[in-house]
């Protein structure tokens, strides 16, 4: 077993962090130039032919930077449904997509094209009217589509479980990116802010919740990376791993952000500090593509209702579908 990143993956993370620090609002063309629009797309379709693990590195760094754009919707939601020619367009940076898993459509403000599920297929939606809604997390607006026609048939709906697992693994690792930055901000503050003549990180009422936040984050990250690896390799446990990871990591990110806000006191509660934006992103992650309770109900079903349980190698892989 090897649970470390390769030097190439580490280099990708470093590149991403540096680029996003310098360019907090990158254009799609810039992402394409960096090769990020084809990371997990096969080389014959113009991509880099890497795996979901490399893509996961980008989800983590993009969410840390509170990136606003159709990256998650294109790669975590739509990509598995796209035929080769459309993937090639995506890899070349010429097209962005989203997929409507429910009535509220992710990244509808920025994604160029929309796919919908209808009957036993997934189709491109053509000629629809879009309404972008305001969302608590302003970095990931949702919207609704009205009217329009089903255009090209893109894939069978049998690809949906793969899409859900991919989206959940991506959101789990996004949650870790958000939580890491919130924790770093809280640690910086606790190590420098003084009250009663001492730095507040000295007080265990401050430091122990931060130790717990770190603990939750590391546990969440282990689950998220496990889920990412399962998705990358088509492992039989991908569905249940992604469900468990998304439920756990989203809750952890929310909790870490809340601890961070509390640590910063009044400052953490203000509009101008970045913390509330990280917090809102974590809340947004919690809400979409399966709620915590819904996902855990699926995990429980795989443990308790299948033919065999974890007495053997692990839970029975089941499709855990919560939609939206």
């Amino acid at each position: 077993m090897d649970f470390t990143f390769t030097p190439e993956q580490d280099a990708l993370r470093e590149q991403a962090r540096e680029f996003l620090a310098a360019t907090p609002e990158p254009t799609w063309a810039q992402l394409a130039e960096l090769g990020w629009t084809g990371v997990s797309i096969p080389e014959e379709d113009g991509g880099a032919g890497l795996t979901f693990v490399e893509e996961a590195v980008l989800y983590e760094e993009l969410s840390r930077a509170l990136y606003h754009g159709p990256f998650l919707s294109t790669f975590a939601l739509a990509l598995p449904a796209l035929p080769d020619d459309l993937r090639a367009e995506v890899a070349a940076g010429e097209a962005t997509w989203t997929l409507a898993l429910g009535p509220l459509v992710t990244d509808l403000d920025t994604a160029q094209r929309v796919a919908i599920v209808g009957g036993d297929g997934i189709y491109e939606l053509e000629g629809a009217e879009r309404e972008v809604l305001t969302t608590t997390d302003a970095t990931r607006p949702l919207g609704v589509v009205r009217g329009g026609d089903a255009g090209r048939r893109l894939a069978d709906s049998t690809v949906l479980p793969e899409i859900e697992a991919r989206a959940r693994a991506a959101l789990a690792i996004e949650a870790c990116g958000v939580a890491r930055r919130a924790l770093e901000l809280a640690l910086e503050y606790a190590a420098s802010r003084e009250q009663f003549g001492r730095r507040i990180g000295v007080y265990q009422a401050v430091s122990h919740p931060l130790a717990d936040a770190y603990t939750q984050l590391e546990l969440a990250r282990s689950l998220a990376l496990w889920a990412g690896w399962c998705v990358a390799t088509g492992d039989a446990q991908a569905a249940v791993a992604a469900a468990a990871a998304k439920a756990y990591a989203a809750d952890a990110a929310v909790a870490v952000c809340e601890t961070a806000i509390q640590t910063l006191g009044g400052i953490g509660f203000t509009w101008e500090h970045v913390l509330h934006r990280l917090y809102k992103r974590s809340l947004g992650i919690q809400s979409i593509v399966g709620s915590g309770t819904g996902l855990r109900a699926g995990v429980a079903a795989s443990l308790l209702d299948g033919e065999r349980g974890i007495e053997d190698e692990g839970p029975v892989p089941v499709s855990i579908s919560q939609g939206g």
Binding site: M1, F3, Q204, L219, S222, G298, L304, I310
Partner: protein, 386 residues
């Protein structure tokens, strides 16, 4: 990143699984653990069988009777023991604490004398660190060791010492300089538990069992060659012991939690669970996987760089609280049967015993408060609280 066994790891796992199937005595399967239950010849025999099959001291160097195998084998060994519900080797303190400390600080004579019998379960060890006045604050140790014509004369009292009632030797932290305070003036000794002046009194705990003990030392003469490290350098040696206590523990704890969660799932399958209980079962299963892969990340980091990742420091903290929640959830699933005593309770009172025992988990081997301090100060770099 590849989370599967390598072909070599898979072969080791398969061989071990087959061996366990053939050799694990039925009466030891489903063993509850805990020092009180390590007593008796069956456990010694089992430990010896594990040793002779080459499964003990996997990561110890070959020159000390170990296997010189990669860390991953130790992780697989503990995982498979858990899966088979087989009890571990009886020499927990020797293998996990005394042995590594002797390897790091011992003389060649000490290594030759003490290490092999730890592996073969011929000699059992206990730990004499905590005292009535020195618990989490270990630097408050007062048990004295006076150097007198080639011997240390030891007087004092130790407490919370698991296995002391079975032990042949004790790793003992003493104060050799009566004028010293705190971390200075401490000396680390190997003490023969059968020597005159050593008295062990079992302490009955919340479960009604006596797993740990008080040890009283009255004028106990310890030969000076039983010194480990330097006179006055006991604190550094003790830190090696504690590092190993928490460091090698991660996979054993994960394996123990895996057994509990498997049993919890099978309990819920037997007796049913309502939707709220199912939600909690799913959460506990998820956290077990999280712990498992957190340990795996720390291990991979260790193998690759020689330095353990900071993730490893949270294992015991997470395990102890998870075990408390899991055992309590099991009692809830039992409904009114949870109120029954061991003789009448379903599953032989397993869950009642485990739930009570679990309260010790957040106290023993570093309280959760101390562990949170360690995470805050050493991992997160927050200012020191003391």
């Amino acid at each position: 990143m590849d989370l599967r066994d390598t072909p070599e790891e898979a072969a080791f796992r398969a061989g071990l699984r087959a061996w366990l199937e053939e050799h694990l005595p039925e009466e030891l399967q489903g063993h509850r653990g805990g020092a009180a239950r390590f007593d008796g010849p069956a456990m010694r025999e089992w430990s010896r069988a594990l040793y002779h099959a080459g499964y003990i001291g996997l990561t110890w160097p070959k020159e000390y009777g170990g296997q010189g195998a990669p860390y991953a084998h130790q992780a697989i060994f503990l995982e498979e023991l858990a899966r088979a519900e087989a009890p571990p080797h009886v020499g927990v303190i020797g293998l996990g604490m005394a042995g590594p400390t002797i390897m790091a600080h011992g003389t060649e004579e000490q290594k030759a004398r003490y290490l092999a019998p730890i592996l073969s379960a011929e000699e059992i060890w206990c730990q004499g660190f905590s005292e009535p006045g020195a618990g989490s604050d270990l630097a408050g140790v007062r048990t004295s060791a006076r150097l007198e014509d080639g011997h240390f004369v030891v007087d004092g009292q130790k407490v919370w010492s698991s296995f002391a009632h079975l032990a042949d030797f004790c790793i003992l932290l003493t104060r050799s300089d009566p004028e010293s305070s705190r971390h200075a003036g401490l000396t680390y000794l190997i003490v023969d538990m059968h020597a005159p002046g050593v008295e062990v009194r079992p302490l009955t705990q919340i479960t009604g069992e006596a797993e740990f003990n008080e040890i009283f030392f009255t004028g106990v003469r310890v030969p000076s060659e039983n010194l480990l490290g330097d006179v006055g350098g006991g604190w550094q040696v003790a830190m090696t012991t504690l590092l190993h206590e928490r460091g090698t523990l991660g996979f054993a704890l994960q394996a123990a939690l895996e057994v509990q969660v498997r049993k919890l799932v099978s309990l819920a399958r037997d007796r049913g669970a309502d939707p709220l209980q199912r939600d909690r079962i799913a959460h506990e299963w998820s956290e077990l996987q999280a712990l498992r892969f957190t340990n795996a990340r720390a291990l991979s980091q260790l193998v690759k760089t020689g330095l353990p990742g900071p993730e490893g420091s949270i294992s015991k903290l997470v395990w102890s609280e998870a075990n408390q929640r899991v055992t309590k959830l099991a009692l809830e699933l039992l409904g009114p049967d949870a109120a029954l005593g061991e003789d009448n309770a379903p599953y032989g009172g397993y869950w009642q015993h485990q739930q009570l025992r679990s309260r010790g988990n957040t106290i023993e081997a570093g309280t959760s408060e101390i562990l949170r301090n360690i995470v805050a100060e050493r991992v997160l770099g927050l200012p020191k609280s003391r």
